[in-house]
Amino acid sequence: MVETQQRQSVFSFGYSRSADQDSARPVRHPVIIVGAGPVGLAAGIDLAQRGVPVVILDDADRIGEGSRGLCYSKRCLEVLDTLGAGEAVAEKGVEWKVGKVYFKDREVYEFDLLPDAGHKMPAFVNLQQYYLENYLVERVEQLDEVTVRWRNKLTGVAQDTDGVTIDIETPDGPYQLRADWLIAADGANSTLRKLMDIEFVGETFRDQFLIADIKMDADFPAVRRFWFEPPFHDGQSTLLHKQPDGVWRVDFQIGWDADPKEETKPEKVRARLDKMMEGRPYELEWLSVYTFQCRRNERFVYDRVIFTGDAAHQVSPFGARGANSGIEDSHNLAWKLALVLKGEAPASLLESYDLERIQAAETNIGHSTRSTDFLVPKSPGDKRLRDAVLDLAVEFPFARRMVNSGRLHTAAHYDSPLSTPDTEDFGGTAKLGDPAPDAPMTDASGKDVWLLNALSRDFTLLHVTNGAAPNVPEGVSLITIGEDLKDKSGLFAKRYDAMPGACYLLRPDQYLTARFRSFDRDRVEAAIARAKGATHG
């Protein structure tokens, strides 16, 4: 989404001069990331944890105010957990799973995301984006392999077969750097995308939304509430979300013709909020007007420049698919780039980043476009059908499934050449091309652990004990279920349709890439080679 106003800072960082600026020739780094937002920071931490030195550049020296990317999904929290920030986000965030939808003056229906018990992470938490960014910056500061250079503004880029040269502007003047790989994580208004003249194609919605973060003592439950044409907001939609620190996020649809300057005048915002809050006192924390697009770059990998997050794709905010999918991008990319840099995989492995994350972007854009079409009908007939769905929904369950106030982010599924197609039948909820489902386990010492926390950063083979000791290839971590980890709850067996001898190969990003009813070293080796991009059979 594109904001029309400047943000005040919440956390500030200092510019400091790098030794690279004194070098006569551009200093070379394996990976440079442009943009220290959630996606750039996540990518930097992920690569650093895999032993790759990273420099992150950001044109600002602060984390801006405003809730912005508010809702973090279960999969996103699982990824953040691998980066050392998941527990902080889940703990500080407000957990929620119920949504209520209203049409005019009545409740139309209530949905429950019904998170399955026995997962470490909840379905969703709400958290101001600046907290997430600050947790990630704190994590960066613990790692030697990654640094952020604040007030380093990218002004030029040129690539050749051997690397990328970039021009950077700082308070001390300009300098240049070389990178093997350059990651664009510089957001919806990506400088890199503009410098490289990449087309950003898709649909712009002719509507505007006013965000108000307000501080309010209210005993409303932590429920996502969405109103179509409520009596307090003249024929347009409104969304209410609870945040930590007694802050509430209100999104008012205000129409294409509204003037953002006028609409963010406190007295004007108060007039809207007073009607909604019916006399409950509140303080204004942050106001912004945004418009949005659903669009993406044609490709995400342009030789040695790789696009992630909003720099690669944009969606409407309804569905919480922006920050969540950006962080998935970084997680998909980091292990592949690390293998390529270590010479353990061909550079062509990065084509699978393009393929898998474009699949995800298409899914996200599709959902977010349909949600937006439902929210903002484009013709009188369109609106009549939308209203008919809402009217029918009060009575009939089939219509509730058509109500679309945002289809919330779930983990991306990849139909990928990296996966080894199943040759044996497997039931359960684990799916090839999906992230491995979590499960509560106990380790060999009897301590409670989560399955996902026990996975290594490399390939992991989960082998269900049958007395045999599989001789796994080098670089693969073996976890024997029933020995290293015990499945007391039986949830692992249920989710993975596990029987003695079964084995499950997980990629370094926790995606299930192959599974067999019995261990066979040749098959496992072939599956790993395939997942590293060696064969595309």
Partner: protein, 65 residues
């Protein structure tokens, strides 16, 4: 793939038509359009078949004056 059945299926087509007309009789243009929207969605869900629905949408579009 199921096909849209466009043969005459009611024993008494006049009565079927009349039933729908009666439901509209007291409605103004807007209320009538809203009624039709609800009716279409109920019937579409009853059919529950994307192929049939798609053919019905095409047939309705094709027969516009």
């Amino acid at each position: 793939m199921a096909d849209l059945d466009t043969s005459s299926r009611f024993d008494n087509p006049d009565a079927a038509f009349q039933l729908v007309v009666d439901a509209h009789r007291a409605l103004d243009a807007e209320a009538s359009a809203e009624f039709n929207a609800r009716l279409v969605l109920l019937l579409a869900n009853h059919i529950g078949d994307m192929d049939v629905l798609k053919q019905a949408v095409e047939a309705a579009a094709k027969t516009a004056r």
